[in-house]
Amino acid sequence: APASSKPRAAGAQAWELASPELREPVRFALEMYNRGRAAGTRAALEAVRGRVRRAGRGSLYSLKATLVEPPCNDPTVCQLPVSKKTLLCSFEVLDELGKHMLLRRDCGPVDTKSTDDKNETFSSFLPLLNKDPLPQDFSVKMASIFKDFVTTYNRTYDSKEEASWRMSVFASNMVRAQKIQALDRGTAQYGVTKFSDLTEEEFRTVYLNPLLKDAPGRSRRPAPPVNGA
């Protein structure tokens, strides 16, 4: 759908002005983006443009949305006061028979748009998302793989919404794993692991160790060279 002119006001008015065909996928993408946020802390939509590609029995929407993060002055919510922030986000939403799935979510400050374009380049040669037609019943296949994942790793989710969210994360992670696979020069295979339903942020926060990057730690003497057979 061609870009609509900038809406006069952010938030609900943006719906009217967006192309009708984009309304549902944009609503779903925004819902996923604001998932788990309390009222008053949710990002609002400022502008959106997008294109749609028919794929199998569904449609794949590629959206470029400008979101406005609300200011945050509540010390219990954010350590430092945050003024209103504008983000440029790329979403890819698959709509198959009314069932939506978020395949990609990349957001950054508005000035990182050039990186985004690079990401576009990344995905440009992945058959899953671009030139080749999406496999028939992509979301049905993805649901089946996700179901295997849940069984294999004995996953339980508190609610249907949580399960739906986790499936979206899983689908997005499958795409990420495919990118990593395509760019690996070794013999490694990437794909479904027990961490496949975690966002990158969750995985990094829970399982990795940021201290390693920052501090050299205590200085130690170098080991003597190895000599002899």
Partner: protein
């Protein structure tokens, strides 16, 4: 160095452990190294306590992260490490309940190892498994095989995960490091990660270290 080496074949490596939902990789990397050192010095393979480091190493941050270099100093200052059985893993910070009487191993010092992977291989073959820290790019989805990400994607300056080198070799002409991870045996190759050797992949050569036991 010999063309291939694997300390798992020589009984110097305990079973793969699981850090759970906790950023305690640094503790597992260090206990893995000390387990190897103690085996090579005293001939006994003991599974050592990471929880003791989480609780009692006040320089590091338990599940929020830590540095192997600090952990070696903590082991020296505390007076040693208890075994896994005596001070079992909980995966979260608790009150330090270390007891010097229960310590089964001690270390005298720690050393920083070369950034030259040839020398690292030689050191490993002669002296035992090595604590290293790498960029964990791609490891969330790693299933098996020798990982060799593009350098920009796996920058040696964004190190964020500590692991243990237990061996090295070649698989159909691709040189690799055999790396013991701490994410359980249901991840990777039975808990192990294989990373390209000789190219500084993911910074594997940046933070190599070992305890010293006289």
């Amino acid at each position: 160095p010999p063309p291939r080496w694997d300390w798992r074949d020589k009984g110097a490596v305990t079973d793969v452990k699981d850090q759970g939902m906790c950023g305690s990789c640094w503790a597992f990397s260090v206990t893995g190294n000390v387990e190897g050192q103690w085996f090579l010095r005293r001939g006994t393979l003991l599974s050592l306590s990471e929880q003791e480091l989480l609780d009692c190493d006040k320089t590091d941050k338990a599940c929020l992260g830590g540095l192997p270099s600090n952990a070696y100093s903590a082991i020296r200052n505390l007076g040693g490490l208890e075994t896994e059985d005596d001070y079992s893993y909980r995966g979260r910070l608790q009150t330090c309940s270390f007891s010097a009487e229960k310590a089964k191993v001690y270390i005298n010092d720690s050393v920083e190892l070369s950034k030259n992977e040839q020398k690292l291989a030689a050191w490993l073959a002669k002296n035992g498994p090595i604590s290293v820290a790498i960029n964990a790019f791609g490891m969330q989805f790693y299933r098996h095989g020798i990982s060799h990400p593009l350098r920009p994607l796996c920058s040696p300056w964004l190190i964020d995960h500590a692991v243990l080198l237990v061996g090295y070799g070649n698989r159909s002409a691709t040189p690799f490091w055999a790396i013991k991870n701490s994410w359980g045996t249901d991840w990777g190759e039975e808990g192990y990660y294989y990373l390209h050797r000789g190219s500084g992949a993911c910074g594997v050569n940046i933070m190599a270290s070992s305890a010293v036991i006289d």
